[in-house]
Symmetry: C2
Amino acid sequence: MLLSEMAEQPAVLAGLIEHGGADAVSASGLLCAPDIHHVVIAARGTSDNAARYAKYVWGSKLGLPVTLAAPSLHTSHGTQPDHSGAAVVGISQSGQSPDLIAVVESGRRQGRPTIVITNQPESPLASLADVVVSLRAGPERSVAATKTYTATLMAIALIAAQSDRMAAISALGTVPDAVAEVLDAASRIGAAAEAFGPVRDCVVLGRGYHYATSFEWALKLQEMAYVLAHPFSTADFAHGPFAVLERDFPVLAVAVRGALFDGTVEMLHRIRNERRAHLLVVTDDASIGLPSIEIPSIDEWLSPIPAIVAAQVFTEALARVRGVDPEQPRGLRKITKTT
Amino acid sequence: MLLSEMAEQPAVLAGLIEHGGADAVSASGLLCAPDIHHVVIAARGTSDNAARYAKYVWGSKLGLPVTLAAPSLHTSHGTQPDHSGAAVVGISQSGQSPDLIAVVESGRRQGRPTIVITNQPESPLASLADVVVSLRAGPERSVAATKTYTATLMAIALIAAQSDRMAAISALGTVPDAVAEVLDAASRIGAAAEAFGPVRDCVVLGRGYHYATSFEWALKLQEMAYVLAHPFSTADFAHGPFAVLERDFPVLAVAVRGALFDGTVEMLHRIRNERRAHLLVVTDDASIGLPSIEIPSIDEWLSPIPAIVAAQVFTEALARVRGVDPEQPRGLRKITKTT
C-alpha cells in the first residue's frame, strides 16, 4: 500500500498541475490582494512540514511573511489573535482536526480570507474556506503520508507560480518526470540505505526550501523505520548540535544547487572532516565529493519534491533493512485530532 | 563560570524587573500601536527559543501573531518580505549576526518600528532599533547561554505585562524567588540526573508556553552534555514520534498547571504505560503520579523561567555524570555569525 501510494506520485503531481489551476488562481488572487500583508498557516505533522515549505516559497515568490499558527492559543488559552492584514490558511490531509478548525474559524469570524489545502474537499475544515485547494491525490491509507505531502508542496508551488505565470508554470512541468526518475532509481537508493541499518538515531540537515525536507524526512524516519531522527537547519546546527556528533554518527542531509548551496556543502565537509560523521547527502550535484544520492536537477524552489521522494524511497528501504513494517507504525493513527 | 552564571539568575532577573521598566514601556508602546497587527522576530539558537516563548506570551497577552523570520530569505535569496502591519524584533545576546541585522534593517527600510532585545546595547544590531531592551545580565562567557536566556524571557514577559499593569507586574516579582528556590534544590535535581547518565539521546516534551522550554532544554542537553535531545510539542508527538519510543527510552517533559496540563499529563501517562519509557517530568504538581522534579508554582505564563533553570541544573549535573566538561563544548563558539 505504501509503495503503491509512493509510486502514484508522478501521476498525482501531473494531475494536480493539469486540474488544480483554477483552485490555485483563486487562492493566489486572495493572497495577492492589496490588503493582505502576511499569511497565517495552521497545520500539524506532515502538513506542518508542508507549511514550512510555504514559508519559504510564499516568502520568496510572493514577498509574504508566513506565520505558523500556534493552535493551542486558540483551543486551550481561548485567545483570539488579531488576524488584521492576514490570510488564514489551513493545511490538512483529512480536514478533521479541531485545533486547525479553530484557527481557520477565527480568521473567518474576523472577516479575513481563508484558504484550505486538503485531500478531503468535503471535510469540516474545507467547509470553512473561501477557497479550497483540493489535492486530488486519491485515498491515502498508509499512516505515513507520502503522495499527500508531495501534492501539498505542489499545491503551494502552483499558488506561488500564478504571480509569475510563464516561467514558473513551465518549471512545474519538470517535477513529475524528476519524481519518476527518482522512483526508477529505487534499487540504487535502497542500496545506500543498507549501511544505515543499525542506526538508532540520526541528524537530518537542510536549509531554506529544504528546511521542510529535513523535518519531513525526519518524520518519515520516525514513523516508518523507528529511527529517532533530529531535523535541523544547517544554519542552526553550528549553535550547539554540532558538539553532539561523535565519530560515525549518522547524518543525512540535502544540498541542492542554489543560493544556500556553498554554505551548506562547506558545513557538510566540516561535519565529515572534523567530526568524522557517517554522512549521506541528497544532492543534484555529484561533484561535491561527499557520499550522495543523486537526484535530477530542477529549479531550486521545486527541488523539495524530488528530494523528499528520494528520502521516502531511502526510508522505506531502511525500514525493511531494520525488519520494521513501514505500513503499520505502532501506536499511530492516520487521523490525529488535536484539541 | 557556567555555575556562577547560573547562580546569578535571581539577581539578574530582579535587576531587570527593577531597571528594565522604561525599556519595556517603550517596547510595549510600539507593539500596541493601532497600526501593528503582527510581530516578526529574527533570532538564532537560544534566542530563537526565547522567540518561541514570545510567540505564546505576546500571542496570548497582546493578541499579536508572532512570525519567526526566515533570515535566509533576506540574506541568501535577496527577498524583501512585506513588513506592512508588523513590528520587527531582533533577539540576540551579542547583537552581531549578519542575518539578524539584515532582517531588522529590512524592517527599518520599510519604515516599520524595530525593537532589539540584547545583552549588548552597543552592538550593530542594537544600533538599528527604535527601542533597545537591554538585558543587563552582565558578561556571559560560557558558550551555553543560561542567564541571558532567562533574562530574555523576562524581557519578553515585562513587555507583555505593560498591557495589564497591576496583576501582571506583581506576578513578575514572584519569579526571582522561584528561580532561587530551584537553584537551592540543586543537589536533589542533580540526583535525578544520575539515572540518565548513560543515555545517548532523548526526547524533550513541552507545549504552549513550554514549547520554548522543550527546545531550550534540548539545546542545553546537546551543548552541555552531548546528549542528542529531540524537542517536540506534546501535541505533535502523537503524529509519528510516539512510534519511535522503545522500552526505557529517556523522555524528559514539562507539565505545569494551566490550560494544557490535563492533556499533557494524559499523554505522559500513555508514554509511560504503553511505551514503558524512562520518564522524568519537571512539574509544579507532584500529585501527577510520575517521576518528577518539582518546581515552585507560579503563574503558568511565567513558569518557563523556573522550569528552564531546573533543566539547566539537571543538565549541568548530567554533563558531570557523563564526564563531559560543560564549560567547553567541542566545536562551538560563543558568537555565531550566520549569513
